[in-house]
């Protein structure tokens, strides 16, 4: 059984001008101990999808259809109290480095032990010892257990976030742009740390990013999202070496390579469509080189050698 199984998920934002279809009928699954990458432009719905895996939906957003199964159990109909118990304990999240992601008036130690004590009935001493171990796990000296967030650098704050997020040995980790905004050196350190964590704790993860190179390094499979829909989903190597969907091709083609012949950077003309009034059929059609009249109809999902592609023209 896959750890995470999303089917026909629809998440709309109810605005005065009509529902904005931020996530429109998507589906994917993540096997145990695997990492799925979720890439796409800003506003394509990847963060919304990721947050929904923990049922973190900010109003006016609403799940209007579909299911999200965690270990077989659908979390969409769950009551608040039930999902609260899953959060932190089974499913955890590390978000983009924000100045204020950590409470400035509590020590790091307190922020870790607080979570442990909430979900497990252990003594304070045990929680404290585990908190120290968590810090070590992410590469921070346990001497810093009583430090405050403002004493940490940006990279250290991210590590602290990871230490907090994994304190209760969750089964699933959501990584929402965890390296965005950090300089390359720190980025590398964070990626190394994440890899260690994943191995140590046998984590299953979803990794959201708009940075293709980072995703290439860390993920087993990748799903490409556009305007609330998944365009292509495949294993990482195949996707990068041979992208099938026109959008994937354009995306990967737009990325400059350090090696190989120098070539003209290709950007994708146009802009993403309105989510309130999206184009009928394939949402990428208006910007697609190969678009034809049949693209006004919703493309079926073609499966080719374990890869899934939503395009009329990709079937063999």
């Amino acid at each position: 059984m896959a750890l995470i199984d999303v089917e026909n998920l629809k998440l709309y934002f109810m605005t005065r001008r009509g529902p904005a279809k931020a996530v429109d009928n998507i589906g994917f699954s993540i096997e145990k101990k695997k990492t799925l990458g979720l890439i796409g432009e800003s506003g394509c719905g990847k963060t919304t999808t990721a947050m929904s895996l923990m049922k973190f939906i900010k109003p006016p957003g609403k799940i209007v259809g579909g299911s999200i199964r965690f270990l077989g159990k659908d979390i969409v109909p769950m009551a608040d109290e039930e999902i609260r118990q899953l959060r932190g304990k089974e499913i955890s999240i590390v978000r983009q480095e924000a100045q204020n992601a950590l409470n400035p008036v509590l020590t790091i130690g307190k922020q870790i032990t607080e979570m442990i004590l909430e979900h497990e009935s252990v003594s304070r001493e045990t929680a404290l010892a585990r908190a120290k171990k968590q810090l070590n796990l992410v590469g921070i000296s346990d001497q810093r257990i009583n430090s405050y967030p403002h004493e940490f650098s940006g990279g250290m704050k991210q590590r602290a976030m990871a230490a907090i997020a994994t304190a209760c040995n969750p089964k699933f980790l959501i990584l929402d742009e965890p390296t965005t905004g950090l300089d390359v050196v720190v980025q590398r350190q964070i990626l190394v740390m994440l890899r260690n964590l994943k191995e140590e704790l046998s984590l299953t993860a979803v990794f959201i990013s708009h940075d293709l190179s980072v995703v290439a390094e860390t993920c087993d499979r990748v799903a490409v999202m556009y305007a609330g829909k998944i365009m292509e989903e495949s294993d990482t190597v195949s996707l990068y070496q041979n992208p099938l969907h026109p959008y994937s091709k354009a995306l990967i083609g737009a990325y400059p390579s350090l090696k190989g012949a120098r070539r003209q950077l290709k950007s994708i003309p146009g802009a993403p469509p309105s989510l309130i009034d999206p184009p009928p059929g394939c949402r990428f059609a208006p910007r697609c080189e190969w678009a034809q009249s049949v693209c006004d109809e919703e493309p079926a999902i073609n499966v080719i050698e374990g890869r899934r592609v939503a395009c009329h023209f990709v079937n063999e």
Binding site: G88, R95, N103, P104, V105, E114, E118, H150
Partner: protein
């Protein structure tokens, strides 16, 4: 920066402010039209000889700079002049009245702050709901009504129309109450003036705490706390409230100036024998030395109270305690 340097900076700033207040006080009163001597000693019964002596003591026979020196010297020795309307040294008059004001103000402020913060935190936490709108509107109304106007209304309704409370003063005259009975009598007299002050203050604190709470709740670390699967009440206590309180503490210092206004107004309406009422008495008697003394007392008290609050804040906020 460390706590020590923070404290030092605040103490020095307070000392400087006091120095400037002393100077300003001197110059403001020299602006008054008329003979400064006659101004200070209005009582026509004072003989010329005594006037001459007073002139010398206060340096009024010397040029302005000399007067200033004499003024500072006298001040340092605690000599604030003589209140001719009270026939006593100003310092004595003030000293007599301070306890009464403190009683009134401290009681009112404690009640107002506690209630205001609780209601404000509630309103902020439940922002957007009907309860929140109700609390907010009520608070804006409470905060806008001038204290003296509210006092007069209360006086009319609850002391004249429906005589539940006394018409003024601090205790029933010549009653001979002692101990517990005295406390009850004073409390009964204190109710309406305290209520007038409390209403304004609650309004202010609700609005303040509410907006601080709303701002805190929009912060990233609240989302993080939710992602950790913490209970709502843990998030409220450890994450929301603790952070929302910080600006509230800071503003408390600034608000003390308004407490001064409230006290002056309430004491005047209810004839409560404190330093606020003294301001009214001094004005109606044109007793400038007394007025000067009252002003300086209020100004000093606020500077000192601000200093204490700044020091407390420095201790509570880890960003200052542990230094950035």
């Amino acid at each position: 920066m460390g706590l020590k340097r923070f404290f030092l900076r605040k103490v020095v700033a307070a000392a400087l402010t006091i120095a400037v207040i002393v100077c300003a006080n001197f110059f403001i009163f020299r602006m008054a039209p008329g003979d400064p001597v006659r101004m200070m000693f209005r009582d026509p019964r004072v003989s010329e000889g005594s006037l001459e002596l007073m002139k010398q003591k206060f340096g009024l026979d010397k040029p302005l700079s000399g007067q200033f020196v004499a003024y500072v010297k006298n001040l340092a020795q605690g000599d604030l002049g003589i209140s001719f309307s009270q026939q006593k040294p100003v310092l004595e008059v003030l000293a007599e009245r301070i306890p009464n004001t403190l009683l009134l103000v401290v009681t009112a402020l404690i009640i107002a702050v506690v209630l205001g913060v609780i209601l404000g935190a509630l309103a902020g936490w439940l922002s957007g709901t009907k309860l929140d709108t109700f609390i907010l509107t009520a608070s804006v109304a409470m905060y806008s009504i001038p204290t003296f106007a509210l006092g007069i209304i209360l006086l009319l309704v609850f002391a004249y129309l429906i005589p539940i409370f006394p018409l003024g003063g601090i205790s029933t005259p010549a009653s001979g109450y002692e101990g517990f009975e005295l406390i009850r009598d004073v409390g009964w007299h204190m109710f309406l003036p305290a209520f007038s002050i409390v209403i304004w203050y609650i309004g202010e604190y609700v609005i303040l705490t509410r907006s601080s709470m709303i701002e805190v709740m929009g912060q990233e670390y609240i989302t993080t706390a939710q992602a950790k699967g913490l209970r709502k009440h843990t998030i409220l206590k450890n994450h929301a409230l603790r952070n929302a309180m910080l600006p509230v503490i800071t503003i408390t210092g600034v608000n003390l100036a308004f407490a001064a206004a409230g006290v002056i107004e309430a004491e005047t309406v209810f004839a409560w024998p404190g330093v606020g009422r003294l301001a009214y008495d001094a004005v109606s008697q044109r007793d400038y030395p007394l007025l000067q003394g009252v002003f300086m007392l209020f100004a000093f008290a606020i500077v000192l109270a601000n200093l204490v609050i700044d020091l407390i804040y420095g201790y509570i906020d880890p960003r200052i305690k542990v230094g950035e």
